[in-house]
């Protein structure tokens, strides 16, 4: 090995003419060899911001909030297309027939299983949206550069979103964990909470967001939640919890709010300018309309994906103007189909005319009617109920007893909220009528179908979520 050591010396000293060149070469090599550990440090990519930087500035924090709304509009529970619960629960309950060719809908057949892609997707998208909301809550709380008053509205929105998504998850999957942090170590080991505990968390979050949110909308077109939106959800939550006085009060807060004005023309209720709207999603692009419109509307039969069940159409009371204005008949070769035409626009218009509406004033009237009936305020209940009936072109209710009023309220809810985010399914479920109703109309229905399965991957990844819901 001595030779190895000798050679470099000879390089430097033997040949004077080449000496400097060789030296230089070696030096160059050594420089490269020894240079720059920080060569491998790269800057943050130009299209990204660190989480910390996002919450240093109100504008980027606002963009993070916009990110949540776009995700909710495009995917998961509130998506208006065929992957949201309006479609899934419409098929699962008794609103839609399924027409897609070469395909089978496990929702329509009531034959869900724990690895079903739709069931998985709704679960994962929802918790991803909840993560984003929690990330905003934590980011805003930590931020020193956004002034405290400016934090209130976005904080209130994020807390509201968290409550809203948990509300739907609870009613789809049964007992669920309530996620309030972004810490993955904690979130990966969470356990399911009882429905009562989840509801308590929801109410707590909603109370907090009502305190934080501003009275007025921060945007035109009511596309971001305000205090009234949180109150509207709270009314619904209390109704589901069967806390009728609280439900009544929360609904009154919305009904008495001058921002919301009844609309007698059924064709104008689903326009983006409607004053009965409490909260709606703005479409993705200028001129675009709702995903619901493109999913439900067909101009020739048979339908491409879904159509309203004939049994549903036949169940409308005579003279119910909602049948005329909110459903449309298509005939072809002697066959007849119906589609939901609350939204009239199938595709884009020069400027958007319809947004996807999440909360409407009429729900608050029907919540209060039901809550009042349960509390024995039959006159008040009938007043609220008749507002909805009269708008639909129906005469005042003939119901006399509380029970009859409640039955009529639920019947009105069926024809008022069809194809809107599974209201029909949830109503049947919360009133205990799910089995008796769907056993008749759905051949694949089983008693255990009232809950969706917890995704199998979820149980495998976090055994604390066990046991699986009955029937799966």
């Amino acid at each position: 090995m001595k030779n190895i050591l000798k050679i470099p010396q000879s390089l430097f000293f033997r040949d004077k003419n080449r000496l400097s060149n060789c030296q230089f070469l070696l030096l160059a090599l050594c420089t490269l060899l020894g240079s720059c550990n920080d060569f491998v440090d790269v800057d943050i990519p130009k299209s990204q911001l660190t989480a910390q930087a996002v919450f240093e500035d109100a504008a980027t924090a606002n963009a993070a909030m916009s990110g949540v709304y776009t995700k909710m509009r495009n995917s998961g529970i509130l998506a208006g297309d065929a992957t949201g619960i309006s479609c899934y629960l419409g098929l699962y309950a008794d609103e839609f027939d399924y027409y897609q060719q070469n395909a089978v809908s496990n929702f329509y057949n009531n034959s869900l299983f724990a690895a079903d892609l739709g069931v998985n997707d709704i679960w994962n998208q929802s918790y991803n949206q909840i993560y984003s909301a929690n990330s905003i809550i934590e980011g805003l709380n930590k931020s020193n550069s956004i002034p405290e008053p400016d934090k209130k509205q976005p904080l209130g929105e994020a807390i509201f979103i968290r409550a809203l998504l948990h509300f739907y998850l609870l009613n789809l999957y049964g007992d669920i964990p309530y996620i309030t942090t972004t810490d993955y170590l904690q979130n990966s080991r969470v356990s399911r909470l009882s429905a009562d505990q989840v509801y308590q968390n929801i109410v707590k979050d909603l109370d907090q967001s009502i305190a934080l949110l501003s009275e007025n909308y921060t945007s035109t077109d009511r596309i971001r939640p305000n205090r009234g939106t949180a109150q509207a959800l709270l009314a619904r939550v209390y109704l589901y919890m069967k806390l009728y006085p609280e439900a009544s009060n929360a609904a009154s807060a919305v009904i008495n709010n001058p921002l919301y004005v009844g609309e007698s023309d059924l064709n104008k209720i689903f326009l983006k300018t409607s004053k009965t709207t409490i909260w709606q999603f703005m479409p993705s692009a200028a001129g675009a309309n709702t995903s619901e419109g493109s999913l439900y509307i067909f101009t020739a039969g048979p339908p491409a994906i879904v159509a309203l069940k004939p049994e549903f159409i036949n169940a409308f009371e005579a003279n119910d103007q909602r049948k005329t204005h909110w459903t449309t008949e298509v005939t072809n070769d002697g066959a007849t189909w119906y589609y939901a035409s609350k939204y009239k626009q199938e595709s884009s218009t020069p400027t958007s005319v319809e947004y996807s509406i999440l909360f409407r004033l009429s729900e608050q009237y029907l919540i209060r009617a039901e809550a009042r009936a349960y509390q024995g305020d039959l006159i008040g209940a009938k007043e609220d109920l008749n507002i909805i009936r009269n708008t639909a072109g129906l005469s005042n209710t003939t119901a006399i007893s509380a029970e009859e009023i409640i039955r009529d309220v639920l019947n009105q809810r069926r024809f008022e909220f069809f194809t809107e985010f599974g209201q029909r399914f949830f109503d049947l479920k919360r009133t205990g009528k799910l089995n008796e109703t769907l056993t008749i109309s759905k051949p694949g229905w089983n008693a255990t179908d009232s809950l969706w399965p917890i995704p199998v991957l979820e149980l495998n990844a976090n055994p604390n979520l066990k046991p699986q819901n009955q029937g799966y």
Partner: protein, 1009 residues
């Protein structure tokens, strides 16, 4: 040394400076050399032809005994010309042949016939990346194929050419659609992250990223997004070497964990200018269709489903049985939709030549092929390759420049119709109306041809350029710099015109949409190296040190456009009324390393090879960027020991072993950052920002420790050559996205997992020269790999999210499935074992049966036969494995066709049908039982196969009358025969329901002059 640091912005300058430095020396020294081999005395011209007895031998070196530095090389027709003294002796040498000494004896025309010498194959040099090594002195494990093997195969992807020919290299073709990808595994699956098992590809010294360039939503006709490996043109490849063990791969450090694929392109050869024109064309078809039900069988199944469900009137939407569709109609949809013929044409021209000191090669290739799907789809590929080598007169300064430019133009259906063809009801209506328009049967039939109107197009341009400049500045000292550059651009579009919908829906171009993805990737590399070798009395020392600086910039722009005034504008996103940019990102990957090798060779008997590399990668967070990898290899040529030296039986014997570590940084860029990224979606005019990931800044390299022992033996003058290798690779510190429950908001987090995966196995190769006399020659190559994969350790597996995927002591390619117990004769439902006896079938508790999807063994058997001008080669590839059976997504009885054996379904109590009760879809028990059944061990079947992978017959036209012209005609076939017990279509697949590899037949002609 940080004082010398160059910062990001200064690096280009630095590189330029360094190149200038190298170049400036070169010219300096090139000038100073004297022309010592100037023109010598020419008095006697000799010419002639060199043959192997049948065919001319090009490239043979003809030297003159008294003047060793005056030599020439025979041209393509085996001819040579030389000036020398009439009394001298010619030394004629060529690899693979015995060197002949031919006295001139005043002759002017000398025809020389060389004799084959199998032993000299050991003299071939093998490329090991930063160095090359004589086959006999190799300490590492390197498998090789050369242009000879590649030319025989009518394929367009370099990975296809390797299938079945290399021990330890397992390759699966994903799709028979042109442009589809391949999966390669070199000695098994090391990483628990599926996409973390890619080898490193190096083309002429330039690392070539194999990361996908397509996008899932623009590459929809094939199962995986477009891979850049399609850009490599097989016919420009001289050799492919696969480095497998630690000794060969440790010098690639952090990128060598999954093996290294070295691709060397063709180089120019000196001699007369030679033109070669090759043209071939042929056709391809699906290898194997499934046996599906015909109309009576299908309708019987459907009706029974409704009977079983107690439904008496058929629903309005079940057109196949409710009388809407003709119940007597039958169409074999597989034949109708996949039974077409793909036509392919290949054209190549190359021009090469040059002097002793400067050689060049220029070649151009054009390939075009259609698909088996109906419709106007096609794939075009063109390639230009240029190479130039130059050496100074004293041969101290050398320059090699190679560049390849490839363009591909692919237009394919956006949907692979394989699943549709298997699913469609056999009584579904005709595809066309009598007037030639598509038939939608009054909107009751989703015509599959309408789906073909949605197309994906991909245009890829790729440039790889490299130059190697070396200078021997003192005897035995060589300074070398390798400079490389790659530039790749891929433009993909998926077009969804309104014409793909039933016209009755009156959907106009205002609802046409398109997705477009633009990927561009540039990289550069500089690798200065210094090499010193020294010969001692009976030993040799070879030392190499070097450094690498590499950068790769990638960008991606993924857009969506909707609403066009006309469908003819659909490719132009500017014409869309709604435009969204979903992804726009730019990433930078930087990489630096120092490496070295010390090779000590004592008496060509004992060889020690030490390699090491220190790597830094920008893919890791601060403090985690650097790591050192090293390996030692040793070989003992025991046949050179005195006691075996003159052994007449054993002609070659070598024992070699190696041990060392390599790593993997295949995790993607920037994953250690906690960031928000623009969603590209606007809400109220504000573009949303979303959190990108759960973040962990602390992950680092995956480490793979490799051990290998091998023996290589030659018998009877190497006519029988046998090698056996045993290896054991342990991959630890697993760099994975640990699966998380969805309640965390994401599906995984990147982290190092304290788990160890072991891949071990044996690889055997056998080469025999069975017959080598006169006009008939026959030789055989055989290789077989027996591989085992095992999860050695995984602390906390039971409580982790992986507990349902892995079992310690078993392969990581296992699947846990239910134990299938047969059909309950009373209910007619499939039943699986309720392992924990809780009365419920739940996947976590009851999937306890393990099926291993690792191939047990695989390999190839190749025979080469030659008789006079005829040559026949055929390769059988075999794989012993289990894989998923083909099952449709829904149970029998649904409006989807099923395999014909499912006619034997249970109907009533006491039946012993082999398939469960049919259901229209309403019987949830049957639906659940079906999903349990396909998730049970009955869904995994023997998918072994033996396949005539390649057969090639060629004939050299006897054109002795036309001097210097050679003409060869050939017939080639790929995948022509397949023997398999597998019933679900072709057994070679990774994703079910996609078009399998095609069988291909081509005829070609090659003319050289």
């Amino acid at each position: 040394m940080n004082n010398f640091s160059f910062y990001k912005d200064g690096k280009d300058l630095y590189c330029l400076f360094f190149i200038w430095l190298c170049l400036s020396f070169s010219s300096l020294f090139a000038k100073s050399s004297n022309g010592h081999n100037a023109i010598f005395f020419q008095q006697h011209q000799i010419q002639g032809t060199i043959t192997d007895g049948n065919n001319p031998l090009p490239g043979v070196t003809i030297a003159v005994k008294s003047k060793l530095n005056s030599s020439t090389i025979s041209d393509y027709s085996g001819q040579y010309t030389l000036f020398t003294s009439p009394t001298d002796t010619l030394i004629v040498s060529f690899i693979g042949f015995k060197t002949a000494l031919v006295p001139i004896k005043d002759r002017t025309k000398i025809e020389i016939q060389l004799l084959y010498d199998t032993t000299t194959l050991q003299e071939v040099r093998v490329n090991a990346g930063y160095y090359s090594v004589k086959e006999s002195e190799r300490t590492g494990s390197i498998a090789k194929i050369s242009a000879k093997d590649i030319e025989k195969q009518p394929v367009t992807n370099v990975l296809a050419t390797m299938q079945g020919r290399m021990a330890g290299v397992d390759i699966i073709q994903d799709s028979g659609i042109p442009g589809g990808g391949f999966q390669i595994k070199i000695r098994g699956t090391n990483s628990l992250r599926e996409e973390g098992n890619q080898p490193l590809y190096i083309i002429d010294g330039v690392p070539y990223s194999s990361d996908i360039i397509g996008y899932s939503n623009t590459t929809t006709g094939i199962p995986t997004p477009t891979s850049p490996l399609n850009n490599i043109n097989p016919s420009d490849i001289e050799s492919v070497e696969v480095l497998k063990d630690a000794d060969a791969t440790a010098i690639y450090g952090s990128r060598g964990a999954n093996g290294v694929v070295l691709i060397t392109t063709k180089k120019g050869a000196s001699g007369k200018t030679r033109v070669t024109v090759t043209a071939s064309s042929g056709f391809g078809q699906v290898t194997k269709m499934m046996n599906l039900m015909d109309t009576p069988q299908y309708l019987q199944m459907r009706r029974q489903g409704f009977v079983n469900d107690g439904i008496t009137s058929y629903p309005a939407t079940d057109y196949d049985i409710n009388g809407t569709w003709d119940q007597n109609r039958y169409t074999d949809w597989q034949k109708e939709l996949l039974g077409g013929t793909s036509v392919m044409t290949n054209l190549q021209t190359s021009l090469s030549g040059g002097s002793d000191l400067t050689q060049y090669l220029l070649s151009g290739t054009y390939h075009t092929e259609t698909t088996v799907l109906p419709g106007d789809f096609g794939y075009d590929k063109g390639a230009v390759h240029f190479n130039m080598n130059h050496a100074s007169e004293d041969r101290k300064f050398k320059l090699t420049f190679s560049t390849g430019y490839t363009f591909q133009n692919n237009k394919q259906a956006a949907t692979d119709l394989t699943r549709t063809a298997r699913n469609l009801a056999p009584n579904a209506p005709a595809l066309y109306n009598p007037d030639g328009s598509l038939n939608f049967e009054n909107s009751t039939f989703q015509n599959p041809l309408a789906a073909l109107r949605a197309v994906t197009t991909a245009k890829t341009n790729d440039l790889v350029a490299n130059s190697v400049i070396s200078y021997e500045f003192r005897p035995n000292w060589e300074l070398k710099v390798n400079l490389g550059f790659t530039d790749l651009k891929n433009t993909e579009q998926r077009l969804l015109p309104s014409t793909m919908y039933d016209p009755a829906f009156k959907i106009g171009s205002s609802r046409s949409s398109m997705y477009s993805n633009l990927t561009s990737r540039q990289s550069w590399i500089i690798e200065p190296q210094l090499r010193w070798n020294h010969e001692f009395e009976s030993s040799k020392l070879d030392v190499l040190i070097g450094a690498t600086a590499q950068q790769q910039n990638s960008s991606r722009l993924y857009q969506y456009g909707r609403g066009f005034t006309s469908n003819s504008l659909i490719t132009d996103i500017a014409s869309a009324t709604t435009k969204s940019i979903f992804v726009s990102d730019q990433t930078i990957y930087k990489y630096q390393a120092f490496f070295g090798r010390i090779n000590y060779n004592w008496d060509e008997k004992y060889i020690l090879n030490l390699t090491a590399r220190r790597d830094g990668s920008s893919r890791f967070g601060p403090g985690k960027q650097f790591a050192v990898f090293a390996a030692a290899g040793a070989a003992w040529l025991f046949s050179k020991e005195n006691f075996l030296k003159e052994n007449s039986f054993l002609s070659f014997g070598k024992l070699r072993a190696s041990y060392g570590s390599t790593g993997s940084d295949q995790i993607g860029d920037y994953q250690y950052l906690d960031t928000y990224v623009s969603s590209g979606q606007s809400y109220n005019g504000i573009i949303g920002m979303d959190p990108t990931r759960l973040y962990n800044p602390d992950f680092s390299w995956e480490i793979n420790k490799k051990l290998e022992v091998a023996i290589e033996t030659g018998f009877l003058r190497d006519r029988i050559f046998f090698t056996a290798a045993w290896y054991q690779n342990r991959s630890s510190n697993q760099l994975v996205g640990i699966p998380l429950p969805g309640t965390t908001g994401f599906s995984s987090i990147n982290a190092n997992l304290d788990a160890t995966v072991q891949n071990s196995g044996f690889e055997f190769t056998l080469r025999t020269v069975n017959f080598n006399a006169g006009a008939f020659k026959w030789s055989t190559n055989f290789n077989i790999s027996l591989a085992k994969n095992k999860l050695i350790s995984f602390p906390g597996l039971e409580g982790s999210t992986y507990s349902n995927n892995y079992v310690i002591g078993r392969s990581t390619n296992i699947v846990k499935v239910y134990q299938y117990n047969g059909i309950n004769p009373q209910t007619g439902l499939y039943e699986v074992e309720d392992v924990n006896k809780d009365g419920q079938i739940t996947s976590l508790e009851d999937k306890k049966t393990i099926a291993d999807l690792t191939p047990k063994y695989f390999g190839g058997l190749e025979n080469q036969l030659q008789y006079k001008n005829w040559q026949l080669d055929f390769l059988f590839q075999f794989v012993k494995q289990q894989n998923y059976n083909y099952t449709s997504n829904v149970p029998g009885g649904s409006p989807i066709n099923q395999p014909s054996q499912m006619t034997n379904a249970w109907t009533q109590a006491g039946d012993n049908g082999s398939f469960q009760i049919n259901t229209s879809g309403q019987n949830s028990d049957a639906v659940n039982a079906y999903y349990n059944y396909i998730d049970s061990n009955s869904g995994i079947v023997d998918a072994s196969y033996v396949r005539l992978k390649n057969i090639a017959l060629s004939y050299d036209l006897p054109l002795s009358t036309i001097k210097g012209v050679r003409c060869r005609i050939s017939l080639q076939g790929q995948n022509l025969l397949t023997f398999t017990p597998y019933k679900g279509g072709d057994p070679e697949f990774r994703y079910t329901g996609y078009l399998p590899p095609l069988k291909v037949c081509t005829a070609g002609i090659q003319v050289t002059f």
